[in-house]
Structures are given as C-alpha cells and as structure tokens.
C-alpha cells in the first residue's frame, strides 16, 4: 500500500496485539498493516472493542506488541531501546486522550502539566524561557497565559482538551495520535477542537492518527480512513472513496447507521445490517481503486466490487 513521492512517517506491518493467556488469547489487534504519510490525517474508525484504541496504544509503546513491526521514521520502535533512544522517540510522537477529565493531573496547574515534558527532557531550564514557552503553547491552543496557574478543575471540558493538546505539542512532535479526542465534548465545542487540530496541522506540518467512532467528524478531518472490525482492518482508502464508494459490507453497514441532521432523509433511512463472513488464510488486501484496499478473499472482494 504505497503512495509515491510522499514520505512515510509510520509503517505498520502485520501488527498483532494479543492479551490474556497464550492458550486462549484475546486477539485485540490481529495482523494489521498500514502506512501513515507525512502531513496527512489517517482516521481509524470502528465500534467499541474493534481494537482501534489498542492499535494507537501499541504504536506509542504503551503495550509490548505480540507480533509484527512498527516502523517510525525508518526505525523500528519496539524491542530493546536505550533510555536515550526512547526519549528521542517520545519527543517525536505524542498522544491526545479521550477524557479531558481523567487525563490531566488534578494536583498540577495547567502550566506544570504542559511543561512536565521540558523537565523530563531537560529543555528550557531557564525559568523565564520556560514560562514564555508555556505561554506560547497556551496561546497556540486558544487559551491565554493567565490560565497557566489554574488547576484542571477550573477549566471546562473543551478548555481541558486544549490543555491536553498543548501538552502533546510541547515537545514539537511530528506525529500525534488522537484517541477519541472529541467524543467527551459538546457539539459546539467539538467543532472548536477539530478546527484547532486542523489549524495546528497546517501551521506545524503535523501528522495525525485520528481514532474515533464518530464517522462524520472522521470524514471531515481525515485524508484517508481505515475501518476496523474485530482486530482487523477491513477497508482503507481516501476519505471520499470510503464514504462515497464503500466496498466492504461492514463499511456499508457502518455508514448506513450514521444519523444525519436531515429529518426527511431520516424518515426513509434503511440501515444495512452486517453479517460477518469468516474468511480463511487466503484473505489479503486487494486494491480496488487508487489507494483503496479491501480485506478479504479474492472471490469475496470480486463479488463485493460487483455489488457496490
């Protein structure tokens, strides 16, 4: 699955993440492969339990992976690493979490939360310089410098998520994993945060892996979308292709369930139920159009394409 001329920031090759005992493992992520290109947003969607959050957490080394390879910037990131190598990696890749209430330490001020990374990495040792950097970050996410001395409980949900974003940006990363960054927020605040993420991406050339179950926001923010089901990626392609020309029956089913703010079309909404067909080991990714891949056996994919 390659795209010529654009640099790959991240390559995932046959990633497996199993939990539980070896005799009876829970295959949360079961052999997925995809690339993320520089400057793009890849949306990862699926229902709860499909393995999308596990994928994100494996990529950022929160778990030791069971199998496969994760290559970030040309280097494999799992396996034995020295402390310094890890630090270097941690500066490049950061995460934004779902719950802005649980992901901020209630005993630290916003300024301390944002500058914690500086202490760990020995950056901006001069107090004044550090304060300036914190102020810059607060401003970049639409807060102001007075906010630096406040504690998490003094902020609204949307403001907290902005602090989470400022923390993720503090070490100038290249790549950010956003795990359901807006699902805990109100609609009008969701739009504010999504706009902020888009603007920051433009200004700083960031690459995002955007994990969510809300397909409409994912469609809006993503360049490409990967659809996950039971630990596998069923379909991956450009956001428009996935939305307008889905091939895999699971993608079709998922799309048919999104309610639109259009009462007349909702009156005759036909939800397409999904019935899973188990596939054997011959199943693989088939390219159905430019950069658009579908997982299945050759025969199945052929029928799906014919029915699309």
């Amino acid at each position: 699955m390659t795209k010529s001329g654009v640099k790959k920031v991240l390559e995932i090759k046959n990633l497996k993440q199993h939990f539980g005992s070896e005799s009876n493992p829970i295959k949360a992520v079961d052999g997925i492969s995809f690339d993320v290109y520089e400057g793009e947003t890849l949306g990862l969607v699926g229902e709860s339990g499909c393995g999308k959050s596990t994928t994100g957490r494996s990529i950022i080394r929160l778990y030791d992976i069971t199998g496969g390879e994760i290559i970030f910037d040309g280097e494999s990131i799992h396996g034995k690493k020295s402390k310094n190598e890890l630090k270097k990696f941690n500066r490049q890749m950061q995460m934004i979490f779902q719950d802005p209430y649980a992901s901020l330490n209630p005993r630290m001020t916003a300024g301390e939360i944002i500058s914690e990374g500086f202490t760990i990495h020995g950056l901006y040792k001069d107090k004044k310089e550090r304060r300036e950097k914190v102020n810059q970050l607060l401003e970049a996410v639409g807060l102001n410098k007075e906010h630096a001395n406040r504690y998490a409980h003094e902020f609204s949900g949307g403001q907290r998520q902005r602090i989470g974003i400022a923390r993720a940006l503090s070490l100038d990363p290249k790549f950010i994993i956003a795990d359901e960054p807006i699902s805990a927020l109100d609609v009008s605040i969701q739009a504010q945060v999504v706009n902020l993420l888009k603007e920051l991406q433009k200004e700083r050339g960031l690459t995002y892996l955007f994990i969510a179950h809300d397909l409409s926001m994912v469609k809006y923010i993503s360049d490409r979308i990967a659809v996950m089901y039971r630990g596998k990626i069923m379909e991956i392609g450009k956001a428009d292709d996935i939305y307008n020309h889905p091939v895999h029956p699971y993608t079709k089913s998922l799309l048919s369930a999104i309610p639109l703010p259009d009462p007349m079309s909702e009156k005759h909404r036909q939800r397409i139920p999904y019935k899973h067909t188990e596939v054997d080991d011959s199943a693989s990714y088939h390219e159905v159009s430019d950069q658009h891949y579908v997982y299945g056996t050759a025969d199945l994919v052929k029928t799906w394409v014919a029915n699309r």
Partner: protein
C-alpha cells in the same frame, strides 16, 4: 383531537450551592401530545437533564428548589405531590431511560427480577404472570433467548443488550410517558440505530409519548416529531422537526447546525463554531443569555430579554432577530447551503 398528556408551564428550578444560587431552569414551557416524540436538544449545562429529572420529581430537595411552575400530567399538577404519591406515578405512568445502561441496572440482581420488580410494584398480578410478562418484554425489545436471558446478570449482556433491558424495565408498567435521557450516547452508531428503531416501533404499537434528550442533532432528526432547543436554562427555539432543521431562526440553532460537518459537500473550510462557552447560571446575564456568543447580537440583546416570537403556527423562537424592526439577517452560508442540499436531494428522490 389528539390528547395533550403533558403540559409544563413556567418551570423554574434553582440549586443552592456554595457558589450561590444556580438558576438551572429559567421558565420552561412546552407540551406533549399522545404518541408524540419531543426532542430536547442542548449542550451540557443547558438545563435539559434538570428539566427531564424535574418531570419525574427526581430533583433532590435540598439543594434543588422548585421555584415556580406547573407540571400538568394528564391535567394533574405533579409539583405539589408528596414522595409517596409520586412513587405511584414513577415507573408506572412515567418511566425513564438513562444514558449509561451499566449504572442504571443493579449488578447484583438477575435482569428478570429487575423487570418483575416493577410489574409487581405497580400491577396486581401473580409472580408467575409477572415472569411471563417479563419474558414477553424481553422478546419485544429484541433480546434473543429471553427465557435464558431472564436468569442472567447485567454483566453477561453487551452494552446494546443492556440498554434493551433498561427499555424493557421502563416499559414494564405500560407508561404513558417515556423520558429518555441520552439513551444512545454511550452506544456505537450501529447499536444506536437499532435502539432508535426499537423505540419508534414501541411507540407505534403502544402510543407512548416520548421525551428524548440528546445533544446529537442527527439522532433528533431521526426520532423527533417536535424539537425544543435549550440554552442557559431556557427554550430558545421550539417547533416541528422540519421547522428546526429546514427553517431555523435562532442564531444558537444555526450554530449547532453549522458545527456539524457536512458529509456531502467536502470543503477545506473550517467548521462554524459557536465562540466562547455558556454563561454562568449563578448569575445569568441581563438580556439575551446568548448575546455574548452571538455574532449578530444587537444593543437590545444586552438590555432586555427577548420574548418568544411566533414564526408560524408550530414554530417559535426567542430572539430579538425575529422582531419586525430588526435587520433581516440571512442564514449563514454553510447552513443555508446544507439545507438546500438536503431539500434538493429530497426533491430528487421524489421524482
């Protein structure tokens, strides 16, 4: 004529807190007909959940205070009722479905007993009949193997199945009114679609009226007959689902509609947002509560609270922009374009 089963008149609810008196609900009026679904939409803190809890008299007093107003259910005012009298209404005539199916079920009790408990409380039936009815209800809400499921605990159910159990409990005593407070927010889209279908089917069969509380406009478009948009403890726009989605009048409704991405027209434009955040209700602003976030705000918005202006027979909006002397402001482009798209699509389908 269709019967009105619920009338809420000038409902005001305050909470005593250390920070001062919070005016959570500030004069809410609406009614509900038999077999109708009213969606109450708004952000967190807009008072939508307080309103719905107030209908069930679930506001703890203190700190809550029913400052004023009437809740007329089939003509009888619920506000002055004692707890004992209310317990005959709750679960029996009015039932409620909550957001999180895990916390609304008792984890130490088999689901069957959680359903029969309600039936035995409100109906004069034998235990055996209650069990029969419970299994019927489980079947009705689409739970496979109801006899087996009857003897299982909530943790043995998936999220969607649990919410079906919650719905079965709510339906156990054949309520006239069902209040659903964000019943699908914790569920996946595919499961959400199933639950919405189920609720619509139940309503068709039993003529139950539904108050559906949500912040998801897609869900509203799917399920509602009428919509009340709440902001800062008040209803700011009120109308049929078509009024609200195709002819919105309040700038806050515009903001809500504009902040959703348009899936059909792909643009690189940023989403329209509502700047700022909702006001502090310990000290509600003078004039229009939305003025500070309203890009079209006029001088009067900071001085005087707007009345409910009537747009049509069914449609009302609480904004000075509806005043005959106010400058005519067209719908924001993004919203107008989307509505046009929807209407064109509909016309195309009817061809």
């Amino acid at each position: 004529m269709i019967k009105t089963i619920l009338e809420v008149k000038d409902l005001k609810i305050n909470f005593k807190t250390y920070a001062g008196l919070v005016h959570a609900v500030r004069g809410v009026n609406f009614d509900l007909k038999e077999g109708e679904t009213l969606a109450i939409v708004g952000e967190s803190g807009s008072g939508k959940s307080v309103t719905s809890n107030a209908l069930m008299k679930l506001i703890p007093q203190p700190p809550g205070i029913y400052e004023s107003g009437q809740i007329l259910f089939n003509g009888r005012d619920l506000v002055p009722l004692s707890d004992k009298e209310m317990s005959k209404v709750r679960g029996n005539e009015i039932a409620m479905i909550f957001q999180d199916p895990m916390t609304s079920l008792n984890p130490t009790m088999k689901v069957g007993r959680q359903i029969t408990e309600v039936i035995l409380q409100h109906k004069k039936v034998s235990k055996a009949d209650a069990k029969k009815r419970a299994i019927e209800l489980l079947t009705q809400v689409g739970i496979p193997f109801p006899e087996k499921r009857y003897n299982q605990y909530p943790h043995e159910f998936s999220g969607g199945m649990r919410q079906r159990v919650v719905i079965a409990i709510a339906l156990a005593a054949d309520p006239k009114l069902l209040i659903a407070d964000e019943p699908t927010t914790a569920l996946d889209v595919t499961i959400q679609a199933q639950i919405l279908e189920l609720m619509k089917e139940i309503q068709k069969n039993s003529k139950t009226s539904i108050i559906f509380i949500t912040h998801d406009l897609g869900v509203v478009a799917n399920i509602a007959d009428r919509v009340a948009v709440m902001y800062a403890g008040q209803i700011v726009e009120y109308g049929t689902v078509n009024d609200i989605f195709y002819n919105p009048k309040h700038p806050y409704t515009w903001g809500l509609l504009g902040s959703m991405p348009d899936l059909d027209n792909d643009t690189d434009e940023l989403l329209r947002t509502i700047p700022g955040s909702p006001p502090d209700l310990t000290n509600p602003p003078k004039g229009d509560a939305f003025a500070a976030r309203n890009e079209y705000a006029m001088a009067i918005d900071y001085e005087q609270e707007p009345p409910m202006f009537q747009v049509s027979d069914t449609h009302f909006a609480k904004t000075w922009m509806m005043h005959p002397d106010a400058p005519k402001i067209p719908l924001p482009d993004a919203v107008a374009k989307r509505i046009e798209g929807y209407l064109a699509k509909e016309a195309h389908q009817n061809d």
